[in-house]
């Protein structure tokens, strides 16, 4: 009997050791990734890459940095009215049945591979509509990929507005629009912004949907909406690492490093917003 218990305890201990080892393993992989990107990236960063454009496989990253910022900024401009507007409609106006349908279609959009979005826009806009590789096509691709993240966060945030606050506002005689703008909207804003920032983090790191929509350019991006390709950082990581030259490898590492920094900063701000939001919700309750 006692040996039986001892055996069970030993078995339990054995499996838990394996479980803990898998966590340690995962963290080691993460360490390897970070170490790799940060050590090589920091070594590859020179001040002049921020002011020079790529020349073939060398030069700087100014065009890619500006292009990434421009593509993501326009994507945010495109996704905010649609994603947040749809969430407002679903939480404030929609009949039950339609609410379910919109939420379902967003769920479906979550599962669409980004390359499918990219190829769809390539065929529809770059080819069929004749826009060529362009800023708008690239930003639209990013906006579609961000949409489910932005929508879902906004939907959750507007659904979580406490009912008693809304009722208090209405009871005080506020008009519906005033109640929405002064009570519901401020309450839902941090959660919505968090979703938007998570979307920005995703968009910063996307490559596949941009290759055949934004194209690639060695020059600084123009503000032309169509017929003008745009460079971006992820393209540099993907292509320059396969060139046989040290200079191009350096640029790929520098680009990867800058991407990681950008994504970490947006994710950190997003997390901080969640904390802020949570603490405010607690103080209300």
């Amino acid at each position: 009997m006692v040996s039986h218990v001892k055996r069970n305890v030993a078995i339990s201990r054995f499996w838990w050791v394996l479980c803990i080892a898998s966590l340690v393993g995962a963290l080691l992989v993460l360490l390897s990734l970070f170490g790799f990107v940060f050590v090589r990236g920091i070594a590859a960063i020179r001040p002049d890459i921020f002011v020079t454009v790529t020349q073939g496989i060398a030069g700087g990253l100014a065009n890619a940095i500006a292009g990434t910022m421009l593509l993501v900024t326009l994507a945010v401009v495109l996704v905010v009215p649609v994603g947040i507007g749809a969430a407002i409609w679903v939480t404030q106006f929609a009949p039950d049945r339609l609410r379910i349908v919109v939420r379902l279609s967003i769920d479906v959009l979550f599962g669409v591979p980004s390359i499918v979005v990219g190829y769809f826009l390539y065929v529809a806009l770059v080819e069929t509509a004749g826009w060529g590789f362009s800023l708008v096509a690239g930003s639209l691709a990013l906006a579609i990929i961000m949409l489910p993240y932005v929508y879902r966060a906004a939907d959750l945030a507007f659904s979580a507005v406490p009912r008693d606050l809304v009722e208090a506002s209405v009871a005080l005689g506020a008009r519906p629009l005033t109640t929405f703008l002064r009570v519901a909207f401020p309450w839902a804003l941090p959660g919505t912004l968090t979703g938007l920032l998570i979307g920005v983090g995703i968009a910063l790191g996307e490559t596949a949907p941009l290759i055949y929509t934004a194209g690639w350019s060695n020059y600084m991006p123009t503000l032309a909406p169509t017929h003008s390709p745009v460079g971006y950082l992820t393209y540099v990581v993907w292509t320059f690492i396969n060139e046989p030259f040290k200079e191009s490898h350096q640029l790929a590492y520098a680009a990867a490093f800058l991407l990681m920094i950008g994504i970490f900063v947006t994710n950190f701000v997003a997390r901080a917003a969640v904390e802020y939001w949570a603490s405010r919700t607690r103080s209300h309750a």
Binding site: W89, Q92, F93, P113, A160, R175, P176, V237
Partner: protein
């Protein structure tokens, strides 16, 4: 303004925050504008599917079933005379658009990734929930979240420079030499680029999502299940495997399927480490492969040069196949997760 009195207890009272519903008229403009936004969300997926279907139609007729069953991808002789006609659709002479290699590569790499990722993710999630001291939980969760945010192309970069040489120089020669008698493990050790490297990178990439979902499913489960089992004298491992895990089975299946769906559609990291195989099926676990997502990127430039346009449309057909597979996997996953939600 009497109509603005909140209706308590009525059907509207169940909705959380609905200032407009009490007075629909004053919200008309806002309602119209936001309903347009909702309409765009709703139509986007339908539009994508229909447009791809319309664009692909000639390729569907030209290829028939061979898009799924044929291993040869050949845009045909661009300088030859005449054309190859199937079902009334003309392509360049000798053109064949078989996607079997890419379909097999997509499924195999995602499945093998699951073989690596599922036990690891379960181990990590169980450790976080049952073994980690409270003060270590938050930073661990933050690190896992950080891992989920790393872009695909950075995983690809790490895969190219760190993982692939390691697989090519150490893992593959060792495994083929010592375990070559096991089917699919023997034969050519290759260069490191291939199915194995792709599956490892995919496993690492999908693990954070799987860990987060399984962790949340475990945390949502009442603690009493675990505690009751412990009180009956089982070890903590028995409590987990005999009491907790069976009660969250569907949730875990859902988490695995969501991760599987991600792995199927992953592009850049796979493109960078999978070896870009064409016209050949993998011979062993280290063989170069290609996936649908990767081939859409790597073959488009050549497809554009096809004067008949069927090559581009065939790539769109492959994208459509991937779309449909992802849709199916995600639907099953959602049903599974919803089933889990309902059970508690």
């Amino acid at each position: 303004m009497a109509s603005l009195t909140p209706t308590v207890g009525g059907s509207r009272a169940r909705r959380a925050a609905v200032p407009f519903s009490q007075s629909p008229a004053s919200g008309t403009l806002a309602g119209v504008l936001t309903s347009i936004a909702a309409g765009i969300c709703l139509l986007l997926v339908v539009l994508m599917l229909l447009f791809l279907l319309w664009y692909t139609w000639p390729a569907i007729r030209y290829n028939g079933l061979s898009i799924l069953s044929d291993i040869t991808w050949n845009i045909g002789n661009q300088y030859g005379t005449g054309s190859s006609i199937h079902n009334g659709v003309a392509a360049e002479p000798g053109a064949e658009f078989g996607g079997l290699v890419f379909l097999v590569g997509t499924l195999l790499s995602a499945l093998l990734a699951m073989v690596f990722a599922v036990p690891l993710a379960l181990g990590v999630a169980l450790t976080i929930v049952y073994r980690l001291p409270e003060r270590l939980r938050l930073p661990t969760n933050a690190l896992i979240e950080l891992m989920a945010g790393i872009p695909s192309v950075v995983y690809g970069l790490w895969g190219t420079i760190v993982l692939v040489p390691w697989v090519g120089n150490h893992v593959a020669p060792f495994v083929t030499h010592h375990f070559g008698f096991i089917p699919f493990l023997g034969g050519d050790a290759g260069s490191g680029n291939g199915l194995f490297a792709a599956a490892i990178v995919l496993a690492i990439m999908v693990m954070p999502i799987m860990v987060a979902t399984v962790r949340d499913v475990l945390l949502a489960q009442p603690k009493s299940i675990y505690e009751a089992s412990m009180a009956l004298g089982s070890t903590s491992w028995q409590a987990v495997t005999h009491a907790v895990l069976p009660s969250v089975r569907t949730g875990i299946v859902g988490a695995i399927l969501v991760a599987f769906g991600r792995a199927l559609g992953e592009t850049m990291a796979v493109l960078m480490v999978a070896g870009n195989a064409i016209n050949i099926l993998p011979q062993n676990i280290f063989s170069p492969i290609n996936t649908i997502a990767a081939v859409v990127v790597s073959q488009l430039e050549s497809a554009v040069s096809d004067a008949s346009g069927v090559a581009q449309r065939s790539l769109a057909e492959l994208a459509l196949v991937l779309f449909v597979i992802s849709l199916a996997v995600n639907t099953i996953a959602r049903v599974a997760i919803r089933g889990q939600d309902r059970s508690h």
